[in-house]
């Protein structure tokens, strides 16, 4: 019967627009939803890992995000905006996890999922620039890292970031500028 099949054959839906897929998924088409999961799941995981570190929690957060998305797709007015809508869901769930985690660990007062070691000079020679960048990003303060990730991974505008983190635009610009300067300084160190 319609809607209950899950074939592993390549579907022509794989070529459909976001709008078409979101509309069909909102109507209950699981195959269209599966195409969205494959199309944006990797990006959502990258996002979750940047916020939470690479661990089971990132997997859980992406899974929860898609389950929420499936239930709430009917509330999405513009199907062509499904990518940023999904990124918003994973962003919120990642922050919820971070907060929950902090309540469990209140003595050990580190504020980042954190690099295992912090010795940029010793590492500079063996570490590629991307690895180094990943490490420095992970060490940014939480608010800067969140704004940076919304900007660079979710591709949010400054205004959308401000709305999402509930801070004035000027504060968001300040946080991003600070993050950028820290990253620039670290990159100078690696050269």
């Amino acid at each position: 019967m319609p809607g209950t099949l899950r074939e592993q054959v390549a579907s022509p839906l794989a070529a459909a627009t976001d709008q078409m897929l979101a509309d069909r998924a909102a109507d209950g088409d699981l195959r269209a939803f599966e195409v969205l999961v494959r199309r944006y799941g990797p990006l959502m995981r990258v996002y979750a890992i940047r916020i939470l570190g690479s661990n089971d929690e990132s997997d859980d957060v992406v899974q929860e995000s898609f389950i929420t998305a499936w239930q709430q797709l009917g509330t999405l007015d513009d199907g062509s905006a499904v990518k940023s809508w999904l990124m918003r869901i994973v962003s919120r769930k990642s922050i919820d996890r971070l907060r929950a985690r902090r309540q469990h660990v209140n003595i050990d007062d580190t504020d980042a999922p954190a690099p295992d070691h912090h010795a940029p000079h010793a590492l500079a020679e063996v570490e590629s620039q991307t690895e180094a960048l990943a490490r420095v990003l992970a060490a940014l303060p939480e608010d800067q890292r969140r704004c940076w990730t919304l900007r660079e991974v979710a591709e949010y505008s400054y205004g959308d970031i401000a709305a999402e983190v509930n801070l004035p635009l000027s504060t968001v610009r300040g946080l991003l500028a600070r993050a950028r300067k820290t990253l620039l300084r670290e990159m100078e160190e690696w050269r």
Partner: protein, 215 residues
């Protein structure tokens, strides 16, 4: 022409708290200005930036940062895309179709105690699959307009459709409408007064998947 700034000259305007010192090291600009300038592809040209060796060093640093950021994102996406399929199954297995079942549509049954229904979601599924069996057409959103809970009450159906370029739209719409009437007659008892087909997008140019690179 001015001499090129040595590539290995260190950029020093990294003061995180003192904007004045930052500006002093960047010919009156800030890293934020310069980053915005790069976002605009250095347009319109600003001589006070372009002619400043300090700004040039900072711009070079920003460009290097962007490159590293882009490479990191590509590398991460590639790693995530290479994972086996179990994560997709884990998501789909945790999803319930009831979320989109919609209204219940009664079906007649000879026994007075039996109650048979088909859900609105299932009817939309029938309409979609009818379209999927045809070539060069995608059926999008389907709505059932009217009181579907009253047996025999006429309803109308709205269907959004994407047709591929080069197709005869009126002909294709008519074929689709006919196929949908047949399918609905086979699986439901709905009295369908009209099927309105909206051809919503003639471009049919698929979105490139996010991880696909442009060349």
């Amino acid at each position: 022409m001015t001499e090129l700034t040595p590539a290995n000259r260190r950029f020093l305007a990294f003061d995180l708290d003192d904007t004045e010192r930052e500006q002093a090291g960047l010919s009156g600009h800030t890293i934020e200005h310069l980053s915005d300038y790069l976002d605009r592809d250095r347009m319109p040209a600003d001589a006070s930036i372009d002619d400043s060796p300090d700004c040039e060093i900072a711009l070079r640093g920003l460009e290097r940062l962007r490159r590293a950021q882009r490479l990191l994102l590509e590398r991460d996406l590639e790693r995530e895309s290479r994972r086996d399929d179990s994560w997709v199954s884990a998501i789909l297995d945790n999803i319930t179709l009831e979320a989109h079942a919609g209204r219940e549509i009664p079906l007649a049954h000879p026994s007075p105690t039996a109650r048979l229904v088909v859900t609105e979601g299932a009817v939309r599924g029938i309409l979609r699959e009818t379209g999927d069996r045809m070539q060069n057409v995608f059926v999008g959103r389907c709505v059932l307009v009217g009181d579907v809970s009253v047996p025999g009450a006429p309803i109308s159906i709205g269907v959004d459709v994407t047709v591929f370029p080069g197709e005869n739209i009126p002909l294709l719409a008519e074929q689709l409408r006919h196929a949908m009437y047949v399918a609905l007659g086979k699986y439901t008892e709905l009295v369908v007064a009209a099927i309105d087909i909206t051809v919503s997008d003639l471009q049919a140019l698929p979105d490139a998947p996010a991880q696909e690179k442009e060349h």
